[in-house]
């Protein structure tokens, strides 16, 4: 196995892992504030189509990503209004957001079918970015570096800042946070908006980096994997990072096993296709066995907050 081949594998893993990492980080912050937004897939699709449309019209991929973040955020505000202001059921509203996102993105993307967009410019000099070995560090889309910065930033924010402490307090005990004067609903709105923006950026990773095309249902269920990843990570950003890369590794193993044949032929292709999901189940089992009594989930997760109550 040559070094170039290893680089190719690592490169593929990072690319596959990044969108689920981005969306997972956003959802982690949302859930830390006590809100369960199952609409990640829908917000990703809205981000994907918006990012593609804006890049296609403006020719600037950065503008596309920015627009995708705004669009994801705007979509999450529908969820926010229903669940936070009107105290609607979060699970049902989140599912509705996913279905809405699928339909809306299909409609909005109709005129962009069959088009392609210019790729991102490289961050690093071309000699490094396209070098057969060094591309493993320098050759990625800017969104990959953004996902790593966000991971460190979110870990620091949650653990080391006052605002992060307030966010966690709102998620752990909304009544107490409310009684000492914090706006539970306000904090949750901000968290939901942030989660929407991250899901939007994750979606734009599909339509601008992985497969720079627009097609209906482009994200093909990756939003659900991001949701599973948050549970998998026990709501810890660094563990989410590791989880995303493990998941990316398993998905890359799948395609390489199928391409290689040989010893991998011992198991049928359906097994390789199921492998990422088997891995998810397995890790969840291991985590719940080891974790014992403390689940790691924010105590108020999924519970609507009604101040007068």
């Amino acid at each position: 196995m040559s070094a170039e081949f290893l680089v190719a594998i690592v490169y593929a893993i990072v690319l596959v892992a990044t969108p689920i990492l981005l969306a997972g980080l956003g959802e982690l912050v949302v859930e830390k504030s006590g809100v369960l937004n199952l609409g990640v897939e829908g917000m990703m699709l809205i981000g994907a189509v918006t990012g593609f449309a804006v890049t296609s019209l403006s020719g600037n991929a950065y503008l596309g990503v920015l627009a995708a973040a705004f669009a994801g955020s705007a979509a999450s505000m529908i969820f926010g209004f229903l669940t936070l202001t009107l105290s609607a059921n979060q699970v049902a509203t989140g599912l509705a957001l996913t279905i809405f996102g699928g339909g809306f993105s299909a409609l909005a993307g109709k005129s962009f079918l069959g088009k392609t967009v210019p790729a991102f410019t490289q961050l690093f000099p071309t000699e490094l970015a396209t070098h057969p070995i060094w591309r493993v560090i320098f050759g990625y889309s800017p969104l990959v570096y953004l996902s790593l910065i966000m991971c460190v930033g979110i870990a620091w924010f949650l653990k080391r800042t006052r605002a992060g402490l307030i966010l966690r307090a709102v998620g752990e005990n909304d009544l107490s946070a409310h009684s000492i004067g914090y706006s539970v609903i306000g904090v949750r709105y901000l968290a939901v908006a942030f989660g929407g923006a991250m899901a939007g950026i994750a979606g734009s990773m599909f339509s601008l980096v992985l497969t720079p095309i627009w097609a209906e249902g482009l994200t093909a269920g990756r939003g659900w994997i991001a949701l599973a990843l948050v549970v998998f990570s026990a709501w810890k950003p660094y563990r989410l990072l590791v989880g995303a890369y493990i998941f990316g590794a398993v998905m890359t193993l799948e395609v390489h096993a199928k391409a290689a044949g040989g010893v991998f032929s011992a198991l049928p292709s359906e097994f390789w296709a199921a492998l990422p999901y088997l891995a998810t189940v397995l890790v969840l089992v291991i985590i719940s066995l080891r974790r014992g009594s403390s689940s790691g989930a924010p105590a108020c997760l999924g519970r609507p907050f009604i101040p007068s109550a």
Binding site: I9, A106, T116, A119, F206, I213, A215, H256, A259, A273
Partner: protein
């Protein structure tokens, strides 16, 4: 034309509530109501896109004589298929097209319940008094692109992004590698089943894995243009599937195999209107215009274009059939003896991989 998407139905009870109102639209009594059940959405740029083009051709050709209803996202299998076909029949459609292999059992069942409705099922093999099938000889197109791949591949290794291990797909990869090995006897085809017809990110990842492992030509039997787009960026020759994908690979998409269902849809609707429809199992190819090969990319050298045209022409005049023996299976045993050609029944139930294919089944 009425457009109902499964998504709209799911999205709210509003669309659902509107459904029973549809039979009420009885403007033209003489209009033939035609229903289409789509696997996915026309926006896939692949299989469903091609059927939708065919449906649009039907509308363009027969105009006021037909009223077309399309149902998107019916899926490949499951209880949904049966429900959609039954709904279409109940809404007064007299001709219903079920457009993917997995719709077969539902088509058989529902056609028995509605004897006065004519059903046609794409790529299946079961018929009834009011149920016909239709298919196109895509393997003819794959023999043409396999010939091009045999000439263009320096490594002699191509990657085939496949969906499910059904006869149609096995036939496609066999035709491709048989044609390529007529040019380069050592040609190897690596094939991978993705267990999906449409997942752009996965199709792209599989194409990347093939390229990382040394394939220098990529072809696909899945529906999204993602592999073509990736190959364009990496400078790897590739072929479009189901619709013309040249827009995604201006330099590297050498040609596309286009499914052209329009003529069949027009012919069938006309036969139903005239009252001459009989259950049949047409299986048309390049000769009949059911399978189109788009113009070759300028990057294909003239001698390669000539070789591809020779294969195309041979299939049109009947002098060449890709499944004429001697053919060995992938373990080296005799599959088709010298001088014999597989008949259509053998083709439609093909489960044997020919020599040169590496695949995890």
């Amino acid at each position: 034309m009425t457009m109902i998407t499964r998504r709209t139905i799911l999205k709210g009870g509003v669309a659902l509530a509107a459904l029973p109102a549809l039979p009420g639209i009885a403007l033209g009594q003489e209009k033939l109501k035609v229903g289409f059940a789509y696997l996915a959405v026309p926006g896939d740029y692949g299989w469903t896109y091609a059927h939708d083009q065919g449906a649009n051709d039907l509308i363009a050709a027969l105009g006021d004589k037909v009223e077309v209803t399309k149902v998107e996202n019916v899926g490949e299998a499951g209880p949904n298929v049966e429900r959609v076909l039954r709904e279409l029949a109940q809404q007064g459609n007299k001709l219903i097209f079920a457009t993917t292999f997995g719709h077969m059992e539902a088509a058989v069942k529902v056609s028995a319940e509605f004897p006065d409705v004519i059903f046609e099922h794409c790529t299946g093999y079961m018929t009834g008094p009011n149920l016909g099938t239709y298919n196109a000889r895509f393997y003819e197109g794959r023999a043409v692109i396999g010939t091009i791949a045999g000439h263009m591949s320096k490594a002699g290794v191509a990657g085939y992004i496949a969906s499910f291990p059904i006869p149609e797909v096995v036939m496609g990869m066999n035709a491709f590698v048989l044609a390529a090995r007529k040019v380069n006897p050592n040609f190897v085809l690596k094939a991978a089943y993705l267990s999906t017809w449409f997942d752009p990110a996965k199709e792209g990842a599989q194409a990347q894995a093939f390229i990382d492992q040394g394939c220098d030509v990529i072809t696909q039997h899945t529906d999204s243009p993602a592999p073509v787009e990736l190959c364009e960026r990496l400078g790897i020759p590739c072929f479009g599937q189901a619709s013309d994908m040249a827009a995604f690979g201006p330099k590297m998409c050498l040609t596309s195999i286009v499914d052209n269902w329009g003529p069949h849809y027009i012919k069938t609707a006309e036969a139903v209107i005239a009252g001459t429809w009989q259950p049949a199992q047409p299986w048309e190819g390049i000769k009949d215009g059911a399978v189109l090969i788009t113009p070759y990319n300028d990057t294909v050298p003239a001698d390669v274009q000539a070789a591809a045209d020779a294969v195309k022409q041979g299939q049109i005049d009947g002098s060449f059939h890709i499944f004429t023996g001697p053919i060995k299976d992938k373990d080296g045993n005799e599959f088709v003896p010298a001088g014999t050609t597989l008949d259509d029944g053998a083709l439609l139930s093909m489960q044997t991989y020919v020599e040169g294919i590496e695949v995890i089944e």
